[in-house]
Structure formats: structure tokens, C-alpha cells
């Protein structure tokens, strides 16, 4: 049986970290990298592990990379504090690690909870996440928004679900929308001039792609609101790009530095 390390990065996650850690308490090792939380996060983590590293926030990718480096086992499961491993998934992971299968990494289906409902459509589910992998085959990608892991070798998929409690409320989702659209706009600043018509066409197509194309209508009002937020995010990306394209290089640089 190969041993497993769980890597988690945190910042002020006192409200959610306990349930996350409880769901992986069966792992051989838990590594927590905390970005200097000023709540109870670290002391809660101490109930589960001694492998806690507190360091300043260097950006998403670098923090994930650091956490990965601290893991001592062959396999690593990278989790966010707002995720929980369901029991079926835990059993499956243990089975995979004991069987020494052909894969070097596995993608996990993730179901997300959104204002009172488990979202099953909207392009959110299964939303495979590459999270379980062999440590020595894995590096962290440096894109500002869609941070992720690059695994060299064969990738498989597991059947069990990861539970994701990322959106506490619409206000929380809109705050994330604002933050992500800024990061995405900065990432795509050089990709051609934005025209005003982009403010209309891209959000509409994002909405219909999710609501109709990915059957978002089957998720009721939460599905409708989710597809709306994603179209608003698309619009915000184009508007922010447009605004920055007209601002001075110094202003663009300042925005980059604020968000790196």
C-alpha cells in the first residue's frame, strides 16, 4: 500500500477547516500551510496534525507548490479548506493506492453546494479536478487564475465525489466574481482589443452555454442564478480589460502588483 499525504493551504478558514480535516483523518499524513491566519485555523489544525507550516502568502501557485514539497509520501491529495472527501471517495482512494494501478494521477469529480442546492449541471458537475497524484511526477502551473497541477504520466478518473462548499451566499459569490474577473482580465490583457459589443455577446453566450447547453435549467433557481453569475463574470472580465487597455502602463502595472 502506498502512503498518502494530504496537502491543504489555508487562510482564515476556522469555520470550515474542521470538517475538511475530519474527512481525511484516515490519511497517513496531513500537511497544512497556513498564510498567517488571524483566526483559530491553526489551533484547529493541531487537533489533526503536527505538520503545520505558517508563512506569508506568496500567491496561490507558490503556496500550493510549497505544500506539495512538504509532503513525505509517494502520493499526494491536494484539498482546499472548503472541500470534503466523501466516504465513498475515501474508500476508493484507499483502494487505488493499495492496488498500484497504472496511473500517476487521478481526477476527482467535484459537486458544489450553491444557495441551498447541490448543483448537478451548469457545467459545474462533474468538473473534474486533478488532485490525487504521485508527488515526484507533479509540478504546479503558474497561471494566476486557473492554478493547477501538471502531472507527467497517465491520468485516471475516480468515481466518488468531492464535496465543495465554496459559495456561502450570493454576496460571497459576487465577491469572488469580482476578484476572479480581475485576475482573468489581467491574465488576458494582451489578447487583442476589446470592443463594446463584447460586453453583450460573450456574457450572453456564457449564460446560454451553461443554462441551456449544460442543462443549468435543471438546477432550479440556484441554477439560474449560478449561470447569471457566470455571465456577469464574463462581462466583468471584458469590461475590466477594456478599462485597463485604455489606462496608462503605470496604472496597469499598479493593478498587476495589487493582484499578484
Amino acid at each position: 500500500m502506498s502512503a498518502l499525504s494530504v496537502a491543504i493551504i489555508t487562510h482564515n478558514e476556522a469555520a470550515r477547516i474542521r470538517a475538511c480535516l475530519e474527512s481525511v483523518s484516515w490519511a497517513d499524513e496531513i500537511v497544512v500551510v497556513d498564510a498567517e491566519s488571524n483566526d483559530e485555523t491553526v489551533s484547529i489544525c493541531r487537533d489533526f496534525t503536527d505538520r503545520i507550516f505558517v508563512r506569508p502568502w506568496p500567491g496561490f501557485a507558490k503556496q500550493k507548490q510549497f505544500a506539495l514539497e512538504q509532503c513525505r509520501n509517494e502520493w499526494v491529495l491536494s484539498l482546499d479548506a472548503d472541500e470534503r472527501v466523501r466516504p465513498e471517495l475515501a474508500a476508493e482512494i484507499q483502494r487505488v493506492l493499495s492496488a498500484a494501478g497504472p496511473c500517476d494521477g487521478y481526477r476527482l469529480a467535484r459537486r458544489s453546494y450553491f444557495i441551498g442546492r447541490w448543483i448537478r449541471h451548469c457545467g459545474w458537475y462533474p468538473g473534474y479536478q486533478l488532485r490525487l497524484f504521485k508527488k515526484d511526477r507533479t509540478t504546479v502551473s503558474l497561471s494566476r487564475v486557473h492554478e493547477g497541477f501538471l502531472v507527467e504520466g497517465r491520468i485516471g478518473e475516480l468515481l466518488g465525489d468531492l464535496d465543495h462548499y465554496s459559495h456561502r451566499s450570493l454576496a460571497d459569490s459576487l465577491e469572488k466574481m469580482n476578484r476572479y474577473s480581475t485576475l482573468e482580465a489581467l491574465d488576458r490583457l494582451e489578447r487583442g482589443r476589446v470592443r463594446p459589443i463584447d460586453f453583450i455577446t460573450h456574457p450572453l453566450s456564457a449564460f446560454f452555454r451553461k443554462y441551456i447547453g449544460r442543462s443549468g435549467y435543471r438546477d432550479g433557481m440556484p441554477g439560474l442564478l449560478l449561470c447569471w453569475i457566470s455571465s456577469l463574470l464574463t462581462m466583468a472580465v471584458y469590461m475590466k480589460r477594456w478599462h485597463w487597455q485604455r489606462s496608462t502602463p503605470a496604472e496597469q502595472q499598479a493593478a498587476r502588483e495589487r493582484h499578484w
Binding site: L174, T182, I200, L224, A236, K240, W242
Partner: protein, 253 residues
């Protein structure tokens, strides 16, 4: 000679407050109530007036009422930190209150600078707001958003505009968008209003048509288009949050 007090309530307005107070330094009293600023707002404000008070945040109406209770002048002008009184407006106000008008309050047109452009349509301009009133005849109401002053008796209009430097970036705009729509939804919820998919879809559409077509937002260029689209989403967010309030119990996950 009638006297005038300008009142400003602030929170983290270091970028704005200096210019704002500089444009109001001619007033007889200049009163700043600051709540919880973590930047240099208070220090900068003290360069312009001795009457800077740091108070806990109790709500817009409450903090403005507190500012009001510190004034002694005959007239009061309520100014926000992101607004500027221009020279001509200052002169007009001065002349007006000395002329012993019969009105107890005056509305002023407000011209907004949005993403680098003066917005002249969209229903934003002139968008008269009641800002100048006789201290003895005005009081602040307690609405959560767009709280205002209520004045007993007749109100007139000023000729010059107040300048409004709204959000400098879309990020700031969306942050405020989020905060205000939460408050607006709470207020609607408190009044027993409910929302479903129909109001979530139709009211934003109505808002867009009203601002962009009827109020001729298309004349304000790309900035006008952006403003009208964002305002439609603002209405959507308000009704989405109203739906959330009546359908979701607080999630503590």
C-alpha cells in the same frame, strides 16, 4: 448673514477627502464624522478642519444625524467624500442663503464621473439630490440604501452641479454593487416583498431599456453602455438576493 455647515461622513476615503474638504473650506463649519477608517482619512481631514470626530459606525442615517447634532449653523450642506463643490456652486450657495429664501431645502444636480467620462444621460444626470437645507427643518431618514434627508416645506433647485467622482475602477464599483444590493434586498425583504424568476429576469431588462434607450444612455458612449449593463445587473443582484433571503436559511458550512 446666514451661516452654513458642511457635513461629511467618511470611512477609508484618504484618496478623496482632501480634495473634497478643500472645495468646502469656505463653509462656516466643516464637520467630518469618521468611522473605522484604517487609512489616513482622519489625519488628512484634520488639515482642513478641527471638527473631525471618530465615531463607531451606526448606519448612514445615524452617523449623519450625529453630524447634524454637532452643527450650529442656519443651513446644512450634506456632502459625500467622493463629491466636489465647484467654485460657482459655492458662490451660488453663499448668495442663496444670504438672500433669505422662502424654501427650506434645495436640490442640486449631480454630474458623475464614471470610468473616466462625465455621464450626461442614463437617467443619472441631472439626478437632482436634496443636499442643502435649513438645519431646523431637515432630518435624515433611516432607509438602508439611498438614505436621504427629509425637509419640511418647499424645496427649490440650485443652478450649478455637484461633481461626483464615483468609483475609479470597476473593482471598486463591483464591491459597492455587492454591498448595496445586499442592503437593498434586506430592505425589500423587511417590507415583506418576495422575488421569483420573473422579477429576476424582467426587472433588469426594464432597467436597461429605461437607462440606455429612454434616458438615452447610448449618447454616453462605451462608458454609458457599461453603466447601463452594470445597472441592469445591479437590479438582478438585488432580486437574486431577495430570493435568497426568502429561500435559504443561513448556511454555516
Amino acid at each position: 448673514m446666514s451661516t452654513l455647515a458642511v457635513i461629511v461622513i467618511t470611512r477609508n476615503e484618504a484618496d478623496n477627502i482632501g480634495e473634497c474638504l478643500a472645495g468646502a473650506s469656505w463653509a462656516d463649519e466643516l464637520i467630518v464624522i469618521d468611522s473605522q477608517s484604517t487609512d489616513a482619512t482622519v489625519e488628512i481631514a484634520r488639515r482642513y478642519t478641527d471638527q473631525v470626530y471618530v465615531e463607531p459606525w451606526r448606519g448612514y442615517a445615524e452617523n449623519k444625524t450625529m453630524a447634524l447634532s454637532r452643527c450650529h449653523s442656519d443651513w446644512v450642506f450634506w456632502l459625500d467624500a467622493d463629491e466636489r463643490i465647484t467654485g460657482p456652486l459655492a458662490e451660488e450657495i453663499r448668495r442663496l442663503i444670504d438672500s433669505q429664501p422662502v424654501e427650506n431645502g434645495f436640490r442640486v444636480a449631480r454630474k458623475a464621473y464614471f470610468l473616466g467620462r462625465w455621464i450626461r444621460h442614463c437617467g443619472w444626470y441631472p439626478g437632482y439630490v436634496l443636499r442643502l437645507f435649513r438645519r431646523s427643518h431637515g432630518r435624515f431618514n433611516g432607509r438602508l440604501v439611498h438614505e436621504g434627508v427629509e425637509v419640511e416645506g418647499a424645496c427649490g433647485r440650485l443652478k450649478n452641479s455637484l461633481l461626483h467622482y464615483t468609483d475609479r475602477t470597476l473593482e471598486q464599483y463591483l464591491e459597492k454593487f455587492n454591498r448595496y444590493t445586499t442592503l437593498a434586498a434586506q430592505e425589500l425583504h423587511g417590507r415583506g416583498r418576495r422575488a421569483g424568476a420573473a422579477s429576476f429576469l424582467l426587472r433588469p431588462l426594464h432597467q436597461f431599456v429605461k437607462m440606455y434607450v429612454i434616458k438615452r444612455g447610448f449618447l454616453d458612449g462605451v462608458e454609458g453602455l457599461a453603466l447601463c449593463l452594470l445597472s441592469a445587473h445591479y437590479v438582478a443582484a438585488k432580486y437574486a438576493k431577495l430570493w435568497e433571503l426568502s429561500h435559504c436559511v443561513e448556511e454555516k458550512k
